[in-house]
């Protein structure tokens, strides 16, 4: 029986020697491979795929410093000067409830720019608080507040910050690196739900909120605010209410379109789906957004033939169904939204 033998490398052993020509060839191959490797990896250095829009404004370490809420903070009762508002169609963020507030500096007003984003004066603060009712069937059973996001306009530039609420729900801490938090709630159908909610980092904020390299609010476009609200048991236009209270400069509200409510079953699938794409996707998929180079423009006012949807129908659905999209802002699939988009895309020629 032949015993296996070790093959040790020594300068004295009888290992076959390679020719100088072969050796030169090998060295050349090694040189090319290592330099190629060097180029590939260095090219990929320092790039995490997020937008580089500036978002480095100074924020207080505690949310309480802003005095946004009066009394017990967790009751979310807005302090004087904070204006509550609602949107016709809302971004899906893992089924979280949202409270939206705006504070304008005393004596200033917002200005309408057609259907688009309102023009806000310097030192405007936009506040959005994300929470879950413990039992959505009975909201008197309390809520769990997860985060409050601030958008503050200083010297003409917006900056964003995120505050993570503590477990005692007494205050929130500035969080710039992102954070995952377990959240549980009972939904409107009585099902217990658990998710790992993601509080975005400041760079994630900047990625969705950037337009032409600058941070911008996403939701408060005139067309998305142009809805009927109930105030003192009376139906009124939200924008008209803003005007009546002196928050919005006089403008012809009849010239402002209304973004459809994507949850309203009385509207056409096309209108609802386009509204859904506008509020959930168009901040990136627009000519000035983070994904401008994708040639997929999903703003509601973009004519269908210019959106790029026709050639990307299967891809849109596949990305949504796989959870690959949206890239940021949610961690679970929006099943209702996907069903709406599926109906819409199946209805297209």
């Amino acid at each position: 029986m032949k015993h296996p033998t070790t093959k040790h490398i020594t300068t004295e052993d009888s290992a076959p020697l390679i020719s100088a020509q072969e050796r030169t060839t090998r060295i050349t191959v090694v040189r090319v491979v290592t330099l190629l490797l060097f180029c590939i990896v260095v090219q990929s250095c320092g790039n995490d795929g997020l937008a580089t829009a500036p978002n480095d404004g100074e924020f207080s370490p505690r949310l309480s410093a802003y005095g946004i809420f009066q009394g017990t903070m967790s009751n979310l009762v807005a302090s004087e000067g904070y204006l509550g508002y609602t949107l016709s169609s809302q971004l899906f963020t893992d089924y979280a409830e949202k409270q939206r507030l705006i504070k304008l500096p005393t004596g200033t007003q917002m200005t309408s720019m057609g259907d688009d984003l309102l023009n806000f004066p310097d030192n405007t603060i936009i506040v959005k608080t994300f929470y879950y009712f413990n039992d959505k069937r009975d909201t008197s059973k309390g809520k769990t507040i997860v985060e409050t996001r601030l958008l503050v306009k200083r010297n003409g530039l917006w900056n964003a910050a995120t505050y993570l609420w503590n477990n005692a729900q007494t205050d929130a801490t500035l969080t710039t690196s992102g954070f995952d938090k377990n959240v549980q709630w009972i939904d409107e159908k009585g099902a217990g739900r658990v998710i790992s909610y993601h509080v975005p980092s400041n760079r994630e904020c900047a990625t969705c909120h950037q337009s032409n390299g600058q941070l911008m609010p996403i939701g408060p476009k005139a067309q998305n605010l142009n809805i009927q609200i109930t105030k003192n048991d009376v139906q009124t236009s939200q924008l008209h209410d803003f005007q009546a209270r002196g928050f919005l400069t006089p403008t012809d509200l009849l010239r402002i379109r209304t973004l459809p409510n994507d949850k309203n079953p009385a509207l056409s699938v096309q209108d609802r789906a386009r509204a859904y794409l506008d509020i959930n996707c168009a901040h990136c998929h627009s000519p000035t957004g983070f994904c401008a180079n994708q040639d997929l423009f999903l703003e509601y006012n973009t004519p269908y033939e210019s959106t790029g949807i026709a050639t990307r129908k299967d891809q849109i659905l596949a990305f949504m169904q796989s959870g690959f999209m949206p890239l940021l802002g949610s961690t679970v699939r929006d099943d209702e939204g996907i069903a709406l988009l599926t109906n819409y895309i199946n209805s297209l020629p």
Partner: protein, 238 residues
């Protein structure tokens, strides 16, 4: 800094492999290796003062997790004892949260009782390692290996595991952004090779890797991944 370190390592390798005189007749042995390493992975956090609470909260809630590295390498022996290897490997390393227990305020149709979250980071590793072999005998050779592992980030997978009535289900969320495309790990390994024949040997080592560059360098709370475990391999000497 990372670019500089990588440039230095790559150019050192480059020069090392090409510096000898072409006319010099030296014995040359190329070896090829395939390996699989089940590893325990975790991370350290380095945070600014403003995010210390965040880091402390994560440290209290996150624990180690099993991952693996598998790949191939080509090794060039300079002498009886010293060799240099370059390879490609896929590494899946990360960490997870402790299991959270849920109490429900009201009867619900379905009520998950516990959950945890797994975070896995996929990398293509390019290990550049120097090996010293010693204690040669007919079958056994011992070795110590160390070097740098430049890595290219592929994807981070966040998976939520939920237990409901003793049935675990999972929801996966994958992201390819938010982490630096390039990472740099230091690697060290000790172990032994068992020669099976003139051309084949088995290899077993204890390996450890630690990132010297944060996976999210632009954040106030930075993550440095590390992992360690057994490295099982098969060596072919043609």
């Amino acid at each position: 800094m990372k670019k500089f370190i990588f440039a230095l390592l790559t150019l050192a390798l480059h020069e090392c492999l090409s510096a000898q005189q072409p006319s010099e007749e030296i014995p040359q042995r190329f070896m090829y290796r395939i390996s699989f390493a089940p590893e325990i992975g975790y991370r350290t956090l380095v945070s600014t003062a403003s995010e210390r609470e965040i880091a402390e909260s994560r440290d209290a809630n996150e624990i180690a997790q099993i991952g693996f590295t598998t790949g191939i390498a080509a090794e060039y022996a300079f002498t009886r004892n010293w060799s240099l290897s370059v390879g490609f490997a896929y590494a899946n390393r990360g960490y997870q949260t402790k299991t959270a227990i849920f109490n429900w305020s009201a009867p619900a149709q379905q009520s998950p009782s516990e959950s945890f979250v797994s975070y896995r980071f996929g990398y293509i590793d390019i290990p550049i390692l120097l090996t010293y072999r010693f204690g040669h005998d007919r079958h056994w050779t011992f070795f110590a290996t160390g070097g740098a592992v430049p890595s290219v980030f592929l994807v981070r997978s966040k998976t939520l595991f939920v237990n409901e009535q003793n049935t675990w289900t999972s929801t996966d969320n994958q992201r390819g952004i938010g982490y630096d495309r390039f990472a740099l790990f230091l690697s060290a390994e000790v172990g032994a090779e068992y020669t099976l024949s003139d051309s084949f040997a088995l290899r077993l080592g204890i390996v450890g890797k630690r990132a010297i560059a944060a996976s999210n360098p632009n954040m106030a709370t930075q993550e440095y991944l590390f992992s360690g475990g057994l490295n099982l391999g098969f060596v072919w000497r043609p």
